[in-house]
Symmetry: C2
Subunit: 96 residues, 2 copies
C-alpha cells in the first residue's frame, strides 16, 4: 500500500534537530522524500506498523506532529503534482 | 471530498516568503492547517479545481513544490495522528 508521512518536528532545541534527523533517517528506509518533511512510502501492513512504532518513539508528542495517511488504490491516481517533483516511480520501465 | 495540500515554498528570497504567505492564505479559505505546510480541505470537485488553479498561479514551478492528494472515502479512516493535532472535526456534535 502507498502511504504519506508528513511531519512537523520542533527544531528550536538541539534535541529537536536530532529528532528531525532521526525521523527523516527512519522514513528514508521505507520510502522517498518528496518534500522537506513529507515522505511517500510503499509498504506492507507489517512495515506500516513498524514505521509508525519507530517514529512514535522518536517524536516528542508535546512538541511535534506526525501524521500517516493511507492512499487507497495507490498514489498514482490520487496525487496531483506541481513544481519540483522528486518522486521516482521505480515501477516505470527502466530505459537503458 | 477530503484532500491534502502539502507544499514546499523556497523562502530564500523576499519574493519566496511572499509566495509562502499567499499559498497559506489561499489554503486557509478552503480548509484547515494541520502542520506548518500541510492543509486538510473538504471540497467539491469545482473547489478542488479552483484551489489548484489559484495555487499553481502563485508558486514558482522551478523553486517550489505543490502536491494535492485526494483521500477517497474521507480522511477519518485514512489518517493516523501522533503528537500535536490541530484538526477540528466540524461534523462532530458540538457540546454546549
Amino acid at each position: 500500500m502507498d502511504i504519506l508521512v508528513p511531519y512537523d518536528v520542533n527544531t528550536e532545541t538541539k534535541e529537536g534537530q536530532r529528532r528531525l534527523r532521526r525521523v527523516a533517517r527512519v522514513c528514508t528506509g521505507f520510502g522517498q522524500r518528496v518534500q522537506k518533511s513529507l515522505f511517500e512510502c510503499r509498504v506492507t501492513q507489517a512495515q506500516l506498523e513498524e514505521l509508525e512504532a519507530r517514529l512514535v518513539k522518536i517524536i516528542d508528542g508535546k512538541k511535534d506532529s506526525l501524521r500517516i495517511y493511507i492512499l487507497p488504490g495507490g498514489r498514482n491516481r490520487l496525487v496531483r503534482v506541481h513544481g519540483i517533483d522528486r518522486y521516482i516511480d521505480f515501477e516505470d520501465p527502466l530505459i537503458v
